[in-house]
């Protein structure tokens, strides 16, 4: 079990680097740093919003939990106490966007490809 700890630490670093790039992509000013366990990443937006990301337990169908305190919210709100469970990184990104108030326009539209001749 201990042998996998460095790997998990590496993955945590990669996640934080990725979330830092995500903030830049969404043009949100802020920082991402390691939080107090079990928090893997703590996002502090310049707007005052705070997001905490944790790994979900291995025996659940989820991968991540996200909690947040919106800009201007008082500590101890519902979203801070009751995490949103995310089944994948895609879901986690959606939760973080919601927490930070990021609007990226219409959702994906994947259309059928033309039949090959």
């Amino acid at each position: 079990m201990n042998e996998s700890l460095p790997a998990i630490r590496d993955e945590d670093e990669r996640l934080r680097a990725f979330l830092t790039d995500s903030l830049a992509l969404w043009q949100v000013a802020g920082t991402v740093q390691a939080g107090r366990a079990p928090v893997v990443a703590e996002i502090r937006a310049a707007s005052g919003a705070l997001v905490w990301v944790e790994r979900a337990a291995g025996d659940t169908p989820f991968k991540w939990h996200a909690r947040w305190r919106g800009s201007g919210d008082a500590p101890g709100g519902v979203r801070e106490l009751r995490p949103r469970a995310c089944g994948s990184l895609v879901g986690l990104l959606g939760a973080v966007r919601d927490a930070l108030g990021v609007e990226r326009g219409s959702a994906v539209r994947i259309v059928p490809a033309p039949e090959q001749a």
Partner: protein, 351 residues
């Protein structure tokens, strides 16, 4: 299906001259032409000689602003008339946009409109750039940049003028859109084969030239890692040795669309999917619209690496690489977990 090519380019960049020369080529004999002009008087129509009725002029505004009402109806009407035999049985459509058009809505209509799907297929985007003022136009006009970044072929025009050098404009175009082939035209003279059939759809029954579609030479020249940046537009190519899992690919397309939105101007690629090692998946997206992956019958060459080209605003290459790596690791871990759950426990004393 009928391939549709879009010729775009800024005002005065030589679209009409190019089209007029192309239409003189016998290879363009069965081509329907749709011309859109921004202005009350349609002049371009008079500058192009055509011999049949497969010619439509749209002069009531900019095509990209009226794409649903005008282009969709026009293409639908053309297809109906073709079926009825009231227009010659054209085998290709060329749309010339106005100089101020954003091609993206036109591409969206061609990719997604249910009235057009099954009849037409987008072949490619050809963008003209004036060698004399192209650099300035790119710098000053967002419309020009948008036209260049969605191009599959970029035609540098007016190169026949004395003392003209194309080095600077070529370099700039390669920076803005490394996934496009850049071609020089002298008085619009270019063989149609250099501009058309540049899509990956096997419209004519021949094997699609995926490398040309991806402009693979430009990817190879940068070893897949070069990162270009100009103003707020970034473009980069990702080459990946390891196959991607099919679920990772689906999640990747969702994540790109949900997080990049309209900032991802164009992406295209050929992907080695773990579960289908002999059949590469071709992916293609414009802003938040993606085609479902197309599975080619076989690899077009011995190169079986995944290759993806991205052009967008404010999108870091490290973000896309991180996204792919994290998603693939997540899917791999999930597969491992499922395997452990479904495999029978070893029985003590056996094996």
């Amino acid at each position: 299906m009928i391939p549709v090519s879009v010729i775009t380019g800024f005002l005065g960049s030589g679209k009409t001259t190019l089209l007029a020369r192309l239409m003189l080529d016998p290879a363009m004999g069965r081509t329907a032409v749709i011309i859109n002009e921004f202005g009350a008087i349609a002049l371009d129509h008079d500058l192009i000689e055509t011999s049949d009725e497969s010619f439509v002029r749209l002069s009531n505004g900019c095509l990209c602003c009226n794409v649903r009402s005008d282009l969709t109806l026009t293409l639908g009407d053309l297809a109906a008339r073709r079926a009825q035999g009231t227009v010659p049985r054209f085998e290709r459509v060329v749309i010339e946009t106005s100089g101020l058009a954003d091609p993206a809505p036109i591409l969206h209509a061609l990719m997604t409109d249910s009235d057009l799907n099954g009849v037409y297929v987008l072949d490619g985007v050809i963008t003209t750039v004036d060698v004399l003022i192209g650099l300035t136009t790119l710098e000053q006009h967002e419309e020009s940049r948008r036209q260049v970044v969605v191009a599959d072929r970029i035609v540098i025009t007016k190169t026949d003028l004395d003392g003209v050098r194309t080095d600077a404009i070529k370099q700039r175009l390669m920076t803005v859109n490394p996934g496009a082939q850049v071609i020089e035209a002298v008085r619009g003279a270019i063989a149609p084969s250099a501009l058309f059939d540049c899509g990956f759809y096997d419209v004519s029954g021949k094997h699609p030239d995926v490398s040309a579609w991806l402009a693979h030479d430009s990817i190879a020249a940068t070893d897949g890692h070069e990162h270009h940046h100009t103003e707020d537009i970034t473009s980069f190519c990702i080459v990946r040795e390891e196959p991607l899992r099919a679920v990772t690919l689906a999640l990747l397309l969702s994540a790109l669309a949900e997080n990049c939105g309209e900032d991802l101007l164009r992406m295209k690629g050929i992907v080695h999917v773990l579960e289908q090692p002999e059949r590469p998946a071709v992916i293609h997206g414009v802003q938040h619209v993606y085609h479902a992956p197309v599975w080619l019958p076989r690899w077009p060459s011995a190169d079986r690496r995944s290759r993806m080209v991205f052009i967008g605003r404010n999108i870091r290459e490290s973000w896309v690489r991180g996204l792919i790596d994290l998603l693939d690791a997540e899917v791999a871990a999930e597969n491992t977990k499922r395997t452990l759950v479904t495999e029978p426990l070893p029985i003590a004393g056996k094996g």
